[in-house]
């Protein structure tokens, strides 16, 4: 799994006592935006076969943003591969270091590590809030999640929010 928000979400749902499958569903739902990125990148990258299989793993926020910001297709392709491979390498190196270092750490709460995921999610969310509708949706989603939280198993509030936002997005206009 190489798509940061999904990875964080999977871990967060399990850490808060949710079922691994609720975590998996949340991770997959957060990853759906990558399909839209892939659709946009398809025409730019012109990849097929095993190169497409490799390129697919590198389709993330960062590589898409860098690729579609270029004017020339050749520059787009270079930006996609360079960004994707650089983030892939460093991201997984950082993950490995983190996994190996956990044993050396004291209680995570002493270091405030339980406050780190919300801050990270906020940093991921902020660039998506440039219009009024996403701000309203973010506030409504937070409220709905908190209201249902005491009544359903951990992780399920996220799935309720996902269903509601899809119904909202697909509503007849």
């Amino acid at each position: 799994m190489f798509t940061g928000a999904s990875q964080f979400a999977f871990v967060s749902v399990i850490a808060s006592g949710g079922s691994p499958w609720a975590g998996a569903a949340t991770a997959a739902l957060l990853g759906t935006r990558n399909a839209l990125y892939g659709l946009r990148l398809g025409a730019l990258l012109e990849v097929a076969g095993w190169r497409r299989a490799g390129a697919a793993q590198l389709v993330i926020d960062e590589s898409t943003a860098m690729a579609i910001a270029r004017d020339q297709p050749a520059d787009s392709r270079l930006a996609f591969w360079a960004t994707g491979l650089a983030v892939f390498g460093l991201w997984n190196l950082g993950t490995l270091i983190g996994a190996l270092a956990t044993h050396a750490l004291p209680d995570p709460k002493v270091l405030g590590f339980d406050a780190a995921p919300p801050a990270a999610f906020l940093a991921l969310l902020a660039p998506r809030l440039r219009a009024r509708e996403p701000v309203a949706i973010a506030l409504a989603a937070a409220l709905v999640a908190l209201v249902c939280l005491p009544f359903v198993p951990a992780g399920v509030p996220l799935l309720i929010v996902a269903v509601l936002v899809v119904l909202f997005g697909l509503r007849p206009q």
């Binding site: 399909a35 339980d114 919300p118 973010a138």
Partner: protein, 99 residues
Amino acid sequence: MSWPALLVAAATCYAIKLAGLSLPQRLLQDPRLQRTVPLLPVALLAALIATQTFATGGRLVLDVRAAALAVAAVAVLLRAPFLVVVAAGAATAALLRLF
């Protein structure tokens, strides 16, 4: 054990990406798809922030994590880099717990 769920999640996340690169471009023209897909991360990230900040187990709580989130929000507004935002949130919670 969470390995089966992790492997399924990883495979699904990859399949979603590959599907995006492989599906016909005309899907991009569907306005309902264009509208809905970007809303999913907005709603899910907001819900994650809320549940990770204001709840412990199945109970709603208000503790130092709320202050940590506020400090992280200020860092975001000041256009601080990602790691600075995360560190600001964690450091706030750690410092407040000392008192």
